[in-house]
């Protein structure tokens, strides 16, 4: 048993906290640094993490320790808690302003694209039309696509990209860089229809593998399958079942008829 747990169970919260922090400080910082670059941000998030873990006489730590049987490893649990608190800190502090400041280093046109697409959630087609109609720039659609891709690449770069991915969701693949007049709701509805035939674990596997780009090994762990090969088998079988759906897509990623 780790010394901090002994102290905690002996009712010595302050001593337990000191020992805990001494042992896990570096891991906490490593998890925060995955998302934060700025020194002040890192220290502020660290303070928030400490505050949260110390709340109500170390309630969070106590809850973990008091569990009769542990499922996740303590290090995984701690990383999960730190991630949760870090993302919440960024989201609550000044979400939009912070996200805007991340884009402040981009050239003016890409800043405008960033504002339209990421902050105002406008479609790529709508963004192009707005930029042209307001006279912000005069460019062909091909040139616009190049600028759009460069904007995605810039904001998804490095650690800055990690927090943006959390705050804004994963960036779309290049295929979505075409104009689509379908709403997100319509697309999700079509997708739900196609996914309805899958079991929950198959569906989770498909989404984690396809959308979140997790490795097959990691997906196997999450859904409880034996190995990566099982993931390939299940996912590609599921995708084959959706083959008719795939073949009904036209070049712009829209269904051409009834699925």
């Amino acid at each position: 048993m780790e010394p901090w747990v002994v102290e905690l169970q002996g009712g010595k919260s302050d001593a337990a906290w000191d020992l805990f922090l001494d042992r896990y400080r570096r891991l906490v910082f490593a998890a925060i640094r995955y998302y934060a670059q700025d020194y002040d941000d890192i220290m502020d998030v660290f303070a928030r993490v400490c505050e949260s873990l110390r709340e109500n006489d170390l309630e969070r730590l106590r809850c973990y320790v008091d569990q009769p049987g542990h499922t996740a490893k303590f290090s995984t649990w701690l990383v999960t808690v730190v991630r949760h608190l870090t993302v919440d800190w960024f989201r609550h502090r000044d979400g939009r302003r912070r996200v805007s400041s991340i884009a402040s280093t981009l050239p003016p046109l890409r800043q405008r694209i960033f504002e339209h697409v990421f902050l105002h959630k406008r479609s790529h087609g709508e963004t192009y039309e707005l930029i042209c109609s307001t006279g912000e720039a005069s460019l062909s659609f091909g040139e616009f696509l190049k600028e759009l891709r460069a904007t995605y690449n810039a904001v998804a770069d490095g650690r800055r990209g990690s927090i943006l991915r959390e705050l804004l969701g994963p960036p779309p693949p290049e295929q979505v860089l075409v104009v689509s007049d379908e709403s997100a709701d319509d697309r999700r509805e079509s997708l739900e229809f196609a996914l309805r035939s899958l079991s929950p674990d198959e569906r989770v596997a498909v989404e984690l593998y396809v959308v979140d780009e997790m490795s097959a090994e990691a997906v196997a762990k999450v859904v409880g399958w034996s190995n990566a090969k099982a993931v390939y088998n299940h996912v590609y079988r599921a995708l084959s079942a959706m083959r008719s759906y795939l073949s009904s897509l036209d070049g712009a990623g829209r269904p051409t008829g009834k699925i």
């Binding site: 996740a72 991630r83 997790m214 990691a218 409880g224 084959s240």
Partner: protein, 218 residues
């Protein structure tokens, strides 16, 4: 359209641009951590999987924790905490993918299998920029080494300040640059090439720099 493109298109369809929002039913940190560790008890698993099948917020959390657990700085700290010599994972990262690659080869050989390139953690080849490099009088062509199995290359040229000067894609391992690019004499440029090695997987070269130094007019 090949399977890689079709899968890319499917991924586009999954991307709805929706912002995942937490609900009262969302999983707690302990369950998220257990899912990421693959350690959820059998009795809790169906409920948790059913939830994350329908909840992008929790699914994102699980995926993020897995990403964190693969980050080198974090694995280094965990190895130290758990009394393992840092770097032991690298042995597995070489040995396991080699075994997996052999298995995959057998799978891909099967005529009934889709010709999709699987995404795993195997060792990858990277393209290497051949030229231009260093100080050059002019830049008309770019050339790089190919990557076996790659069907597409993406080249990006940057200014020293990080602005994109030129970007293009193609199947060849060389390209002729258009005359329209305005190179500045004496300025430093950087370029990289990415090779598509699978569906949504790109192997990126190191950044290579070059400076154009034109001879003064006579």
């Amino acid at each position: 359209m090949n399977d890689i493109d079709r899968l890319e298109q499917l991924r586009g369809y999954f991307h709805t641009g929706e912002m995942p929002i937490a609900t009262a039913e969302c999983l707690d940190d302990g369950t998220i951590a257990a899912l990421a560790d693959g350690a959820l008890p059998n009795e809790a698993s169906p409920f948790a999987l059913q939830h994350i099948a329908a909840c992008p917020f929790c699914r994102r959390a699980v995926a993020s924790v897995r990403e964190l657990l693969n980050d080198r700085a974090i694995t280094h700290e965990i190895d130290l905490l758990e009394g393992r010599a840092p770097g032991w994972r690298r042995i597995f990262k070489v040995a396991v993918p080699l075994a997996a690659a052999a298995t995959l080869l057998v799978l891909l050989w099967s005529p009934s299998n889709d010709d999709v390139t699987h995404r795993g953690s195997g060792a990858r080849s990277f393209p290497t920029p051949i030229g231009p490099r260093g100080t050059v009088a002019n830049v008309e062509r770019m050339e790089w080494s190919g990557v076996p199995g790659s069907d597409r290359y993406r080249v990006t040229v940057f200014t020293a300040q990080g602005g994109v000067v030129y970007e293009t894609e193609g199947a060849d391992t060389a390209l002729t640059l258009p005359d329209s690019i305005q190179w500045s004499s004496g300025a430093r440029y950087l370029w990289k090439v990415e090779a598509r090695t699978g569906w949504n997987r790109w192997a990126t070269s190191d950044l290579v720099d070059f400076t154009i130094v034109r001879a003064p007019p006579p």
